[in-house]
Symmetry: C2
Subunit: 735 residues, 2 copies
Amino acid sequence: MPRPDPAELYELTEDGQIRSPTQTHSASQYVDGRTIDWLQEEAVERERTNSQRAQHGVRGLLLPWFDAARMWLVVILIGIGIGVTGGWLDVLVKWLGDLREGRCSYGFFYNQVACCSGVKPGEACTDWRTWSEFFGVGPAPAQALLQSFVYVSLAVAFAGSAAVLVKTYAPYAFHTGIPEIKAILGGYVLTAFLTPWTLLIKALGLALAVASGLSLGKEGPLVHVACCMAYLLSRFFKQFRNSEAQQRKLLAAAAAAGVSVAFGSPLGGVLFGLEELDTFANESEVMWRGFVASAVAAVSLQWVNPFGTSKLVLFQVTNASDTWRAFELIPWLTLGVIGGILGSVLIKLNVEIALYRRNSALNEWPIVEVIGVSAITAAISYLVVFSRVQASELVANLFQECDPTKIDYHGLCNPTAMWENVFLLILTAAIKVLLTAWTFGMMIPAGIFLPTIAIGACLGRAVGLLTQGLQRAYPTAWIFLSCPPDPSVRCVSPGFYAVIGASAMLGGVTRMTISLVVILFELTGALSHVLPIMISVMTSKWVGDAFGKDGGIYAVWIAMRGYPWLPPVDFEDKGDTGAQLMRPLERLVVIEDEQDTVLSLDGMLNDHDFHGFPVVRRQEFLGFVTRDKLRLALAPLLCEDSERRKRCFFSSQTSSPDEQVDFSSLLEEAVLQLRQEVPKELVVNMFQKMNLRQIIFTTGGKLRGMVTKSDVVKLLTCNFPHSGALGSGARRSWA
Amino acid sequence: MPRPDPAELYELTEDGQIRSPTQTHSASQYVDGRTIDWLQEEAVERERTNSQRAQHGVRGLLLPWFDAARMWLVVILIGIGIGVTGGWLDVLVKWLGDLREGRCSYGFFYNQVACCSGVKPGEACTDWRTWSEFFGVGPAPAQALLQSFVYVSLAVAFAGSAAVLVKTYAPYAFHTGIPEIKAILGGYVLTAFLTPWTLLIKALGLALAVASGLSLGKEGPLVHVACCMAYLLSRFFKQFRNSEAQQRKLLAAAAAAGVSVAFGSPLGGVLFGLEELDTFANESEVMWRGFVASAVAAVSLQWVNPFGTSKLVLFQVTNASDTWRAFELIPWLTLGVIGGILGSVLIKLNVEIALYRRNSALNEWPIVEVIGVSAITAAISYLVVFSRVQASELVANLFQECDPTKIDYHGLCNPTAMWENVFLLILTAAIKVLLTAWTFGMMIPAGIFLPTIAIGACLGRAVGLLTQGLQRAYPTAWIFLSCPPDPSVRCVSPGFYAVIGASAMLGGVTRMTISLVVILFELTGALSHVLPIMISVMTSKWVGDAFGKDGGIYAVWIAMRGYPWLPPVDFEDKGDTGAQLMRPLERLVVIEDEQDTVLSLDGMLNDHDFHGFPVVRRQEFLGFVTRDKLRLALAPLLCEDSERRKRCFFSSQTSSPDEQVDFSSLLEEAVLQLRQEVPKELVVNMFQKMNLRQIIFTTGGKLRGMVTKSDVVKLLTCNFPHSGALGSGARRSWA
């Protein structure tokens, strides 16, 4: 890393004074791969608001108000931005998807629904032409050949161009983005992940990837897009530009808005932020912003109205019987168990594939991989009837109850074809598990939610069909006595079993609980069935956790990438204390007050990559100095020979300041200190709850050791076998 | 308080050894009014699980498993218990309520619905007889007189007997219980609040109070009942009996289950625990238990099926149009503002009445007050048509859209009587505000949710009627152009405005956000309207907070009672440090190592009521000794004259142990220490997040001062004018 010119870091303040770098604390002080110091950030923010309030007269009253107004403006803009973007992405995806089958005769840029919107119900739509009609191909085999050729080649073209875009312009735009966002919200610095360029490529690539028919969803990437927007907007305001902590609070709200738009689930967005991103626990104010951003985003999405239904509910469950019977608990619990097991299997499979990809020739040929997988996916999709349509359409159909007045989707409602349907559904699920495990991690934007829902819906519908078949075959068995005696009245609703299956599968893969339940019933509108959904999510999480305490697919990817993220697990020590966790004094690099010279300090900075150094005087702990502050203070002194050999003092009570360099302004004295006898559990707990970067251990004022966030992360992820397997090798840099 | 006999506190362990009181840490060590030490509790729990795991062979494997099994057993039993209790309470209330109007001819213990269940639709029910029919009173005026006489006198009898029960047997069974539960979950010890006696009286008194028709709800008290049940169940298992922290984790799950049953809202229960009780932030495990307890409770309630509908949704919203128009945002935002203002007014009114009650003669005559208010309430209820029925029935009717096929509730759907209806609705709301402000705090079990919903629903329906009237009067105005042109199609749904009004009012009174939204749509089933509900809750919270940062009615009551509860507010200091917050060394009572004698320590214990004392040697901080441990250790020594003058040493490195008493086992060394330069904000933050009881401030190992939880509570509640106004005068006891 090139050393920054210190002059660049001096900054002209609004009142024309030059602020020294030890006073200012701009966001630029952090480089990618570091972890921000929340306590420090909060202190700077506190100082800023206090200086505002201290201003005389109206200024002192208005400045804080302007601050709040700007913040709410940004939150509302984020909501509107992601709502509108999400809506238009849906329109784009629909158009691209339809393009694989044909085009509108009177305008290239109309999708099938828009093209046929002028047609009265009952009439055939002649404006929309399939490619074979458009090119005037006559014979049926040639038609089929042309259609499937265009279908597969456009799929490959979409996926390939998405991969090229990502690979060339914004490598961080690949994958879901949730693991990175979790790490960033926890304090990790990864500016490259949030650039406008990433925003553009991720949005565009996402539309292409979804339209290509690969086994992926748009949910996670939309959250990423929302966060990029928030970052971009925050750059326009000094109050956010200068504070990484304030930026992160905006990002949290943006993430909630992203989920809100992805699922049409404003409440689910807030809860996702609460449960999965684990950010709102810190401040109710942040949750509140997430709430507002989420609501605004949902209103904006409804205003864009991409599906022309003016509804937020994506997969409306209709006709499901309102009551449920006790015997149904058996298939539902079964689905929960299947979801838990299959979720674990999917995670493990995904990890193995990711490791294989990293260590094989595929690592060098990501675009070829995407093209190959998209070709295979498109080909298989043509063969297996249920996967020919977009996953979202499949899910919508599986969630639908059979209704004689509506079109029967691929004979799913034909009672005589039960076994064929069950076989096909299970086959589809199995294929989707394999494809998803491979797709999630390729060089394209890809979410895991929708494929998981599709897999679960297939299995759930299969179990539902089996239960229904059993009930119809033995309507008088004692277990089915609670069913209505009239055989024409439906007792078992297989469509609702698909919802249960989807919840169970999602529970197994993500290990989320409340937010999942809320998202699912905002997604389906099946409020009266909240209890069965809760029960299946509960069961699948239990079973999944029993198969491996990996904490869901996002936590696994965070561990594989080696991000410094503290999983919110309840750590239990075995009687250990902080002394066992800390890096003892002998292994610490410390600054000796009034002993170290300018030159020796510079050498220390070059030798060690640590974020900061404790300052001691004869073992007595004085305070903490961060690397960046020290480097900035040393830079001007290194040029003058007379200064280079001078000793430096950090404590303010020193007696001989004349021949020494005064670094006392660098020293942070308000550092958390604990005794080393404190239980390890408490130390871990403090890191988890207080967002700390380090804790100093002292006894009677003497430095004993230090624990950094990275030590705690290592401790908590040590039982996961592939920690850091996908990391960039720079794992130590945030230590 | 009588001093406990130390011998009683010695305990025979399972392996037959006598455990010294310094090793054991039974729950009985805490007396009411103290705050538990979470860190200490966690340490004991950790020791216990470690000793279990250390057991040889199968025992070491099975013991932790048994622990978990017992815990889940208790959680599930709590869920079943409160579900069944809640269901049966509903049945009891229905019966008592119907009894005010008549009785079943073939059985005294049937309510009206059960009595008429055999009657075919369309036929008149002759088995249910009003009192005038039963007594064979002929003339209409005499009938009305008899009916109203029985109505009012039974109301007074119910309310009076509830008050007598509460006053005589369980004073803690009065009021809602939520403030106390919040304090208890935060660590406050109030065993009297959770006794089986309180459980019985609260449940019985609640049924009587609700049936009496007073302006109160069953929601908060049901949470209290659930917590009492959890406490009772936990007493059967040693692992909970001996650990206040484990008990509290069970109580949190029970509270979630209580809300789940009260509103038929399993998800709302979990979120209530998350947001309002602020307990799950600590451990995901606890949230998980709340989830399970909540789901089990809802299933049990559905199994009891008190309303015979086999539905959880209490106030089903039907026929509401699925789409909404942009202009409707204006009345909805108006409702949000009204809710925020009126919520604040209700809180302030309630506070003033509570203070007046405390300082006037009413304080001595609680039962007379209840009887008087119930008589007034019953009389007014008879006069104002909308309040004659139970509040829950009123709400259900206000939430209902007009439907020509159904009975028109008191002419609410008559378009020509709009102004009369609006006037009546506003009058009802105003009366209910006054009655509720008075009732909430009397000597009976009383919840605030249902009355608040009723007030909000009246106002919302009124605004809805006005909007509808405006739209019908000017259907061609540009603002109403989005309405369907056909005037017979409904454009504005006043029933849904009632839901919005209820949300806004609840938001203003409780200042909850997400959990409120979830509870409301689990209550109404109006999932497609989640956005308007969110917007109104948002607005009313904003407006309410602008009128006073009191944090809702529960926080106000906690402050008035002076419980040591830390509000989860974002505290911002003005550049202050811990030094300004702490009680400095000069004002601390400390133990001097090797200086204090047995006698002087005993004198210190008698003079000062503090929970614990720092131990120092020449200003150097050695550790912390709790009052209870010290008292137990001193007790046997005080009897012998030779021991009483001996000096005591606490530090283990002392050189002359012979002539001194060894108290080193009492010393807690793993105490949190900070420097006094740490920002005040951080200190407050640590108390809020880590559940601490005290923080010691040291510099270079020297004791500088101490901050206790009570100091922080005082700091955070200092801007509320009536802090501790209803306290028992023992406010200092938990310091």
